[in-house]
């Protein structure tokens, strides 16, 4: 069973092994100092150390909290605002200068300002994550609501649904696929936001860990922190996909289900 699985992912497995091999040869044969290119073994030992001392987990957790709170905050502003913008088109016109400006400005550049205003603690990081998540969530909410067929709206009107019943029975489920797409992008972006915030000023988190390790020329630790960040982003992405799979099962086409059944 496991072997069959592995066989299925043979090309991917080979590609990863090839990459590791290249890294290995490069780091051993070129004889570069460890602080420029550590060997895979160096990184592995560093990872073991960081895991056993609890160091890695502590920083991982700090970043994860920022990422998740940022996602939650960004979403809880973007969803209602997207709904209002869909209902009252003038609002879209009024807000658009601010939205365009907020998008033209790279978040990396506002991060120092937010830290001046809100201090180097958790809140400023959450805010940076929320800002970066906000726009794709807002756009996807507005697009998702706008794409609902007029006939479905007519159906709900004929059935005498109130505005919140239309929201609950039609608009939310119908826009969910597009909103979930925004969440998928947002989850990855939120990780970037957290790291940017931690680079500017922090005393914890994976971004902080990278910065501190770099100061000590502890390149192996930088590699470990990078791997942890990648895992976090992948885990978030995977979670959203999983949720999508559960909630949006009605979307996948019939033939693919037959295939899985066999």
């Amino acid at each position: 069973m496991v072997l069959k699985r592995l066989g299925h992912y043979l090309p991917e497995t080979l590609a990863v092994l090839l990459g590791l091999g290249l890294w290995w040869t490069l780091s051993v044969w070129t004889d570069l100092p460890t602080f420029i290119l550590p060997t895979p073994m160096d990184v592995y030992r560093k990872a073991l150390y960081a895991l056993t001392t609890g160091l890695l987990w502590r920083h991982f957790w700090a970043t994860l909290v920022e990422v998740l709170l940022g996602l939650a905050l960004g979403m809880s502003v973007a969803l209602p605002l997207g709904y209002l913008m869909h209902k009252f088109t003038p609002l879209e016109r009024i807000l658009s200068p601010y939205l365009v400006a907020s998008q033209a400005m790279p978040v990396v550049a506002i991060a120092p300002l937010l830290i001046i205003w809100f201090g180097p603690g958790l809140f400023s990081k959450v805010l940076i994550c929320a800002l970066i998540v906000f726009f794709p969530m807002l756009v996807n909410t507005v697009v998702g609501l706008g794409n609902i067929p007029e006939e479905w709206r007519d159906l709900l009107r004929v059935l005498h649904a109130s505005w919140w019943q239309i929201l609950w029975y039609l608009e939310w489920p119908a826009a969910l696929p597009v909103i979930a797409g925004g969440l998928r992008i947002g989850a990855t972006l939120s990780v970037i936001g957290a790291v940017v915030g931690e680079f500017v000023a922090a005393d914890r988190g994976l971004g902080f860990l990278i910065n501190a390790a770099r100061g000590r020329y502890d390149t192996a630790m930088v590699f470990v922190a990078l791997a942890a960040l990648m895992l976090m982003a992948l885990a978030l992405y995977g979670t959203v996909r999983l949720l999508e799979g559960r909630l949006l099962a009605w979307q996948s086409n019939a033939t693919s289900r037959v295939h899985q059944g066999l």
Binding site: E151, W152, D154, L155, L156, R157, V158, L159, H160, A161, Q165, Y169, L170, P173, A174, L248, W250, Q251, N253, A254
Partner: protein, 272 residues
């Protein structure tokens, strides 16, 4: 008849007087309905027949309360109709099922909106599922239904809350000929069973004559009433009526009414 104030009991369930409607087209009016007047008696089956694009769906949307009445008057159950009415159901040209809801959940939707308890809604929806012969498909998603099955679910969804008036917009047009004829029988069975009043839009003369008590024939756009035809076949009807001479004569009259140019209009309307 329209001028006489009738006692409530004699008043038709639906009455349309001088209804005209235009869409806006670059600032100019684009006339779709012109001076339509007709009545629909409670319990009857009326078919509205007209060529493609003449304004049938627009008329049905007005009767459903989805479009305002700009000129003339539409009365339902003794009161002017201004917005969707809880006693009016509509089945769309395409089944229009919500794809994330199963068959049963699509049928319970109107009841959920009415705040009927989950148990009661389920019970009534299951009754409807049995009535349309879809037992075993309760938990199927719309994407896995055939066109005929989807249309039956749409019918069930419109009937489950017992509307007094059911509006049907070419519900069987997308179906193949065999399925369509089978659906005619099912619709008549449902109609007899529920005693709901039906107004059905169609562009099939056969469909109109097989199903309806009365056929209203509309002209090409802008839709005017060209002919009102009372269908003489007794009920319950069998397939055989399609091969009678009367059937052929009626088809001929309808065809002439649709094809006639407006100036010959009056002569056609008098008929034999």
């Amino acid at each position: 008849m329209a001028q006489v104030i009738l006692p409530r009991q004699g008043e038709p369930l639906l009455s349309v007087r001088g209804l005209s409607l235009a869409y806006e087209n670059d600032g100019d009016p684009f006339w779709v309905l012109q001076d339509l007047s007709f009545n629909v008696e409670e319990g009857s089956f009326v078919a509205i027949l007209g060529p493609s694009g003449c304004g049938k769906s627009t008329l049905l949307r007005v009767l459903a309360g989805l479009l305002p009445v700009p000129q003339g008057e539409v009365r339902f159950d003794g009161a002017p109709l201004r917005e969707p009415h809880p006693d009016i159901g509509l089945v769309f040209q395409h089944a229009n099922l919500l794809p994330w809801r199963t068959v049963l959940e699509n049928i319970t939707l109107p009841l959920e909106i009415r705040g009927i308890s989950q148990n009661e809604a389920q019970r009534r929806a299951r009754e409807m599922v049995a009535l349309i012969g879809l037992q075993g498909f309760e938990n199927t998603l719309p994407r896995d239904l055939s066109g005929g099955m989807a249309q039956r679910v749409a019918l069930a969804r419109a009937l489950v809350y017992h509307p007094r008036l059911l509006l049907l917009d070419e519900p069987f047009a997308p179906l193949d000929a065999l399925t369509r004829e089978q659906m005619w029988g099912e619709l008549l069975r449902l109609w007899t069973h529920t005693r709901v009043t039906i107004v059905m839009v169609t562009h099939s003369m056969t469909e109109a004559l097989v199903l309806a008590d009365r056929v209203l024939v509309l002209s090409p756009r802008p839709a005017r009433l060209r002919l009102t035809l009372d269908v003489p076949f007794p009920r319950p009807r069998t397939e055989d009526i399609r091969y009678t001479a009367t059937f052929g004569t009626l088809v001929q009259r309808i065809r002439e009414a649709i094809l006639s140019v407006p100036s010959h209009n009056t002569r056609q309307e008098k008929g034999p």
